[in-house]
């Protein structure tokens, strides 16, 4: 028993830097999930397609010799467009947000394949943004932590500023009460499209950063990313809360760090990787079920079926 614990601990500690770099990169997906879910009340699944989209765009561009920073910007732009499409599908055709997201992510799979021309593309040995990290030898996880962390800090500060500006306050109002926002002169369409677009842009950025970190792009790299991100978001919100703008914005980062450490701990303890999705799914289910379990069955007269937001 002692031996098991010590060997688990040793392999876990050895994984910490790699896991941490992964957390910082995937925090952008969590941000891309948080903004539609929490700020806009627009449950969105586009990230599952936008994340590999960013990866594929970035991979192809880097293979073509494009500047790696430029490749990330291009990935962000493509993700933004994908998010805009999801928002438009919902707004124009009155299709449920979740279905709009599923449609988009399904279509993106084909588009991603088209972009790459094959299902897997290696960019190993190409110049990446991580080679630009100051003070450290390129190729080590620390360089990834520094670069992804710096971009993350920039995004956090920028969003924290934006959501307190006049435009940012208007965007949050659309999530809080769309009818009221419209009566106050705010265009629900513009705010939703920009907000969901921005979120998918972050998911795509995450994919681009990941491709540069792992040295290859893969069309299947987004599989299950949404549930992972949702689990991370819930952990983050449980730890830092969501009462204020900055807490809500910090939650994705804190959640991503803790979640991937937990995953790494499970793997170090010998959990078979294929079981990971089941474990994550059960965890998210438990987090979602908790409020209703606390209330007790039947108490409060919960309706037989929740009404879907159109």
């Amino acid at each position: 028993m002692m031996e098991f614990i010590s060997s688990t601990f040793t392999s876990y500690v050895a994984l910490v830097p790699v896991t941490l770099s992964q957390s910082f990169i995937l925090a952008f997906v969590v941000m891309g999930i948080m903004i539609p879910f929490r700020t806009l009340q627009f449950p969105d699944l586009t990230s599952e397609g936008a994340y590999p989209l960013g990866g594929c765009v970035c991979g192809v561009l880097i293979a073509a010799g494009v500047n790696p920073a430029l490749a990330i910007v291009a990935a962000l732009a493509c993700g933004f467009l994908a998010g805009c499409c999801t928002a438009l599908i919902h707004l124009r055709f009155r299709i449920h947000t979740l279905l709009a997201g599923i449609l988009m992510m399904t279509m993106l799979y084909s588009i991603n394949l088209r972009i790459m021309g094959k299902s897997n593309l290696s960019i190993f040995g190409s110049d990446t943004v991580y080679n630009w990290a100051p003070f450290v030898t390129p190729g080590f996880p620390v360089s990834k932590i520094i670069i992804a962390g710096l971009i993350g800090a920039g995004v956090f500060l920028a969003l924290n500023w934006f959501f307190k500006t006049e435009k940012g306050t208007a965007l949050r109002a659309v999530g809080s009460n769309p009818a009221m926002a419209e009566a106050q002169g705010i265009s629900v369409w513009v705010s939703t499209i920009i907000g969901v677009g921005l979120a998918s842009g972050f998911s795509a950025t995450s994919g681009a950063l990941m491709v540069q970190a792992q040295g290859f792009a893969d069309v299947n790299m987004g599989l299950g990313i949404l549930i992972n991100g949702l689990a991370a978001l819930m952990i983050g919100e449980a730890v830092v809360g969501k009462q204020s703008v900055w807490r809500q914005l910090l939650a994705p980062f804190v959640g991503a760090i803790i979640y991937y450490q937990l995953v790494s701990l499970c793997l170090a303890a010998g959990m078979p990787p294929p079981d990971l999705k089941l474990a994550t799914g059960l965890f998210v289910l438990a987090m979602l079920a908790l409020p209703s379990l606390k209330r007790g069955r039947g108490a409060g007269g919960t309706p037989a079926r929740e009404k879907f937001r159109e």
Partner: protein, 261 residues
């Protein structure tokens, strides 16, 4: 000035349950005039208000504010000129945002939003002053989320938000109907004070006949989607609740005799 010309709106057109909500309705409200709209359920009051605010497109007819045709202007663009207080206190405010943030949203209703900081010291001081006028203590709860306020407090906040910035037209949609009598009275007093102070062109829908008698320059009674009766000027000063209710009674009798069809 508000002008509604030959406004027509039919629900379920061509179906068995076709309903003519607005039947070539004409209505003019002079600048600074306070009109009170009454009428039985289904008379077209809400439809008219929704048509004026832009929430409901007309089948035909025009709506003009201060002479500008706004018939095809979407809600969020009309909001530059129109402020509205809904019947449901939940509808008029953003629950998950703070009192100050809600004030800010209303404050920017008729201007273009910029990337400048929203809640600056000057605005916060201004909001404090405006909320203090209500006497509900809301001025000390600027950072409280609106979902923690009572229905009356939320509706009072909606009102302060609506009258700020002197809109060209103020729409009040039975805005005291969901409140207890004491709070309703408080909100009504605050309404009258604001309308008088800012000389607001106001259209108020109400089921409260006492309010229709006591407030406003003109009573407009709707029936079956058109204006059935208008009482203004000296006649308005002498009208009583009983007289107003009489008009409802006649209509009901007519309906019972089948003459209404």
């Amino acid at each position: 000035m508000l002008e509604v010309r030959s406004a027509r709106k039919v629900f379920y057109a061509g179906q068995a349950d076709e309903k003519i909500a607005l039947d070539n309705l004409d209505l003019t409200l002079q600048t600074g005039e306070f009109g009170v709209v009454i009428g039985s359920n289904g008379a077209g009051k809400s439809t008219m208000l929704n048509a004026v605010s832009g929430a409901l497109p007309l089948d035909s007819g025009q709506i003009a504010i201060n002479g500008d045709d706004v018939t095809d202007t979407p809600v969020h663009k009309r909001a530059k000129r129109i402020a509205r207080v809904f019947q449901d206190p939940m509808l008029g405010t953003a629950a998950s945002m703070t009192v100050a943030e809600n004030m800010l949203l209303a404050d920017l209703r008729s201007t273009d939003r910029t990337l400048a900081r929203g809640l600056n010291a000057k605005r916060l001081a201004d909001y404090k002053d405006r909320l203090a006028a209500l006497g509900l203590g809301l001025e000390n709860r600027l950072d409280t989320k609106v979902e923690l306020l009572s229905g009356g407090q939320r509706q009072s906040l909606s009102l302060i938000m609506a009258v700020g910035g002197s809109p060209d037209l103020l729409l009040l949609d039975e805005h005291t109907a969901a409140l207890d009598p004491r709070t309703a009275d408080l909100v009504m007093q605050a309404t009258v004070r604001a309308v008088d102070t800012f000389k607001l062109t106001t259209l108020m829908v109400t089921h409260n006949m006492a309010h229709a008698v006591d407030y406003g320059h003109r009573v407009i009674m709707l029936d079956a989607g058109r204006v059935k009766l208008e009482i203004g000027g000296a006649e308005k000063a002498n009208v009583t609740v009983a007289k107003l209710v009489d008009h409802f009674a006649v209509k009901t009798d007519a309906m019972m005799l089948g003459a209404g069809a």
